[in-house]
Amino acid sequence: MSEQSQATVPKPRYLAVFAGLAVLTAVEVGLVFTGAAQSVQVVLLIALAFSKATLVALYYMHLKFEGPLIRIIAAVPILLLLLVIMIPIFDVWIFG
């Protein structure tokens, strides 16, 4: 299996990616103690979490080097995840 998928994968700088993840985690934790408005914190924290997840998926799971089929399989559940989370929230906001 792997001879088809990994032999030509360029080696990214895994430690540089980890440094990015560590910095983003530190920013996340620091953000909680800044006293910023709750709504601002939520938006920034979710954005930071997506950034970290994207780094892991692209470089550690090698999604950056996969073909379109695997990328689609990875992307579709993320869209469904957002729907599953957002629809109940909108339901509460609209109908109480």
């Binding site: 990994q6 080696k11 895994y14 934790v29 997840a53």
Partner: protein
């Protein structure tokens, strides 16, 4: 069937069927956690009372634990890179390091659970406890399963089952481990920080 025959009959050119199936499995896992996360978020919005998690939960400890899981992803990806380079010794060392780091992660999580239970937060006495234990519990279960398979992968590595060209097991192990890492990235944010 030879490898060449198998490649010729592969309906997905350029993608191994095993990896394709594993990505489908991971997709189903995303939706499994989506349901749990959705329930947590909804309960938090509609619940009349919700504890101050920054006081109740030990955020610095969990942040350190998050870093441990992130480091385990680094060791896992280096395990794969090692066998791709044909280095059996490094493969074994990085796999063992990953399993040890994963074990430390679940151990610290167990300590956190014991502390919380000691403070009276149970799965049945409030909505926070119910959703917290279910979410972190299912993630912890996934980590435990990952650790078991990591030790199996270590065993197979010591038996010389992986080579520079045949190391699909290590690759799938890595995909699973990184997926568990990604799930925790979101749980850490949603439960502990938001």
């Amino acid at each position: 069937m030879t490898t060449a025959d198998h490649a010729a009959s592969n309906p997905l050119p350029g993608v191994s069927t095993t990896k394709f199936a594993f990505w489908l499995f991971l997709a189903s896992e995303v939706l499994f956690f989506a349901g749990l996360i959705s329930a947590y978020v909804l309960m938090r919005i509609v619940s009349p009372s919700w504890p101050d998690v920054s006081e109740l939960l030990n955020i610095p400890l969990v942040a350190a634990n998050t870093s441990i899981l992130l480091v385990s992803s680094v060791t896992m990806v280096y395990a794969l890179a090692s066998i791709e380079a044909g280095d059996q010794s490094k493969l074994r060392r990085f796999l063992i390091a990953t399993a040890v780091l994963g074990t430390i992660f679940v151990s610290i999580q167990a300590v956190e659970w014991v502390q919380l239970i000691g403070e009276g937060v149970s799965v049945s006495n409030n909505v926070f406890g119910s959703t917290f234990y279910v979410l972190t519990g299912f993630h912890g279960l996934h980590v435990l399963i990952g650790i078991l398979f990591l030790f199996l992968t270590v065993y197979r590595a010591f038996r010389g089952r992986y080579t520079r060209t045949e190391h699909g097991g290590v690759e799938l192990m890595g995909l699973y481990w990184h997926f568990v890492d990604i799930v925790w990235i979101f749980l850490f944010t949603i439960i502990y920080l938001v």
